[in-house]
Amino acid sequence: MDHAEHHEEHPMIGYGTYISIWLALLILTALTVAIAGFDLGKYTTLVAMVVATVKTTLVGLYFMHLRYEPKVFHYMILVTFMIMVVIVIFTFIDGNRFSYLSHEVQAEVHH
């Protein structure tokens, strides 16, 4: 394996790119905190999760170099993500069954 070929696979990311990503992450964090101040009702958490996903994508693509890794890594991450999605969907399909969790258990004796 020669040198030139290798550098094509892994282009150097400039220091400036990393610093821009870091600034974007800090701004998005500030945004998350600011949004939490408003009452968006049931969308508050949804918006926070969307921002967190954007932040994760930035960290993954640039800090973790995923943008420059072979496609197979992207598929592996997609599979892991899909496993989580399936687990969550199947749990919440059964959602009305765990509504009993919200009832206080009176058997616990308190003063």
Binding site: L25, T45, V59, M64
Partner: protein
Amino acid sequence: MSHTANIAAPAHIHKDYNGAKTGMWLFLFTEVLLFGGLFLIYAVYRTAHPHDFAEAAKELNVVLGALNTAVLLTSSLTMALAIACIHRGKKSLSLTFLGITILCAFAFMVIKYIEWESKISHGLYPGSEYLMLHYSKGQRMFFGLYYCMTGLHAAHVIIGATVLIVMFYVTYQRPNEKHRWDVFGKDELNGCRVAILDKDGNEKWGSEIDESVKQVHLKMKYYSMPKRIKHEDYVSLENSGLYWHIVDVIWIFLFPLMYLIG
């Protein structure tokens, strides 16, 4: 009869870069699913007790939580910069950034300690008498999850910092590469000669390999030139970086779900 043996220089030793990276990512997926399970429990109990969770979350210190987010994001930046520097052959700059990353990990743990300490001194910890008497079931659930999830995350920060300290030492040592060839018990090497020749072909130093020789060592200063540095030479540093970033990613989700739902 003389033989010239070709000794493979370290730059040509095949290291399975993609294999090492794939292995690290598979491990990271198990980490994601480990925390995924806890996030699932969080989702279920929060669905069951939305108001209790919102009430209990107000007890957390948003300023300290946001500060810790900034500390972790900054440490992620310095980690990425440390790897970028080593690829350019700037070792001391790389070690500086690695050092800052480790300091950020300590700063995170100090802030975490302050947070936990103030909660625990107020009697807010799982199973405490105060919590059981004054808080509803859902609020107690929230604090249980808060301690479990931030605790497990803090454990990952400590492990990550330990790995980074080891990598600091490894990177610091790096130019002094030692290569060893075991010759003991290899009869065909008996009577061979190891020698160093100058440009005129004169032997500067040489020694016979007889039965008393166990190993041949070659100590090199190899990676000081940027052109010689390849990614596979620093795959362990890159993989430690990946671990550190996944710790950061988990916190990116923990922070809004714990601190900002009030």
